[in-house]
């Protein structure tokens, strides 16, 4: 966990109760200049966490601070230093990008037109177009161009690669890596874990409203192994298993690294870990 004092974002005991869902004491801290992947299945609470972090929904408990400043007490100052990009960028679909940009620019004293133009050129965006005329990938790129032009130090992205084709996703991953090289902090929720395998430094795994893991990508992956079984599961494997998945050849189960040798298990991908842990939770 990053030092809270210098962290671009610290969330402490964040709670939000709905009749059929509870965000349960979520706590984490981001390290500056890192890409943090926020993973979990649909409905795990990723968007609720982000909305509660930004006070778009009111948390029932918990503390949030950005750059050491409590939120929402310092909302104007904080919002000037962050960029939020949600999937689809569905704002003002019939307005020209240049009009949306003109309005956005007026709110940020630190807006850099040179940076904006360079991103518009790099992303192949035309200010005369409207969001309705853009593909989902281009909408995300436009939202990123806006966020980066006002000098956002922290980018919060909610499912930015959702619904994109593999090439567009790869392009975005490369953009995130470039941003990290420039010292930006990226917080990136997704259920497409393969994107995170390519770029994330840290992983936060949310399951049914609770944070189940907060680790480096390598550390998280290294904790688990996949054992494959073609027939009935041996009792010992059944006991060590964390989630069972059916495959064409038989079954795969997730086991702890310590049990890897016993079951001749191989390394697990992020997706395999997430799926097996979700299967385990479903079975309980």
């Amino acid at each position: 966990m990053a030092s809270e004092k210098n962290s671009p974002l610290t969330v402490r005991d964040l709670c939000k109760n709905y009749p059929s869902f509870r965000l349960d004491n979520v706590s984490f801290s981001l390290a500056a200049g890192e890409i943090t992947g926020f993973i979990g299945r649909n409905g795990a609470g990723k968007t609720t966490t982000i909305n509660a972090m930004l006070f778009l929904v009111h948390p029932d408990g918990g503390e949030i601070s950005f750059f050491g400043l409590p939120f929402p007490e310092n909302d104007r100052e904080i919002k000037a230093k962050i960029g939020f990009v949600s999937a689809g960028m569905t704002y003002y679909t019939r307005k020209k990008l240049k009009v949306i940009t003109d309005v956005t620019r007026s709110f940020y004293p630190g807006w850099d037109d040179g940076v904006y133009r360079s991103y518009m050129t790099a992303f192949g965006l035309d200010g005369e177009k409207t969001p309705a005329e853009l593909s989902n990938g281009m909408k995300i790129k436009y939202a990123l161009a806006l966020a980066l032009s006002h000098g956002a130090e922290l980018l919060i992205l909610d499912e930015p690669t959702s619904g994109l084709d593999p090439i567009s996703r790869e392009e975005l991953v490369e953009i995130f890596l470039k941003l990290r090289d420039e010292g930006k902090t990226v917080f990136f929720s997704t259920h497409i874990t393969s994107d995170l395998e390519k770029c994330a430094d840290r992983i936060l795994f949310l399951q049914q409203g609770s944070l189940k893991a907060d680790d480096t990508l390598d550390g998280f992956r290294d904790s688990w192994r996949i054992a494959e079984c073609s027939g009935e599961l041996p009792p010992a494997l059944k006991q060590a298993a964390h989630g069972l998945c059916r495959t064409r050849e038989g079954y795969t189960v997730l086991v702890r690294k310590e049990d890897a040798e016993t079951f001749r298990a191989r390394e697990a991908t992020l997706e395999e870990i997430m799926i097996h842990l979700e299967k385990e939770a479903d079975a309980q």
């Binding site: 778009l56 009111h58 919002k79 003002y92 307005k95 309005v103 007026s106 709110f107």
Partner: protein, 216 residues
Amino acid sequence: MKMLMKEWKLCMHPMGYLMPLCAALILVPGYPYGVCCFYVGLAIFFICLTARENHDAGFTLTLPVSRGDAVRARILFCTILEAADLVLMGIMILVKYAIGFVPNPAGLDAGLALIGDGLIIFTLFNMVFFPCYYKDINKPGKAFVFATTAVFAWIILEIAATYTVPFFRDILDQPDPQHMSEKALFTFGALALFIAGTAWSEKTAEKKFEDLDLSL
């Protein structure tokens, strides 16, 4: 000012330009002129509806502004439309007198008191619409139905009053320049009511929007 520009450039609906022009209905004989103000309420409803469809709240709240700023800007913007409508109504009243005054059997005659009546209508609209709208910005239609009900209830009462209440019948519903001091007093009173009512509406709407969980 930045927020007002944002409202104008991103949230303005064409109805916002067209509906104040309904002030020209003052030239129509035998028309309940208070309804001219209702059309501006309709434009405000369309602006809020368009804002919902364009996920305006989600965009606005990621800007370095507070929720209160967003509410104040929207209400101020709508108040400017209302003021524009009243100015156009004033111009149309002058035109009506220039081309030949005809008494109106459907409510107040065209004259200074009609501007006061318009201020009362906008006060009612603002006091009902904005608190209701900011309780749930995804339901502007509900707020509009409530506000329109209040507005038409007043318009019906006002029409009835021009036949039954002496102050309305014998003073306000008389051609200008008769009883100008009473009409001016009525209009200034309505202006004070408008300012106080809209300020109350803004405070109440702000409180409701602060408490609202947004599903973006």
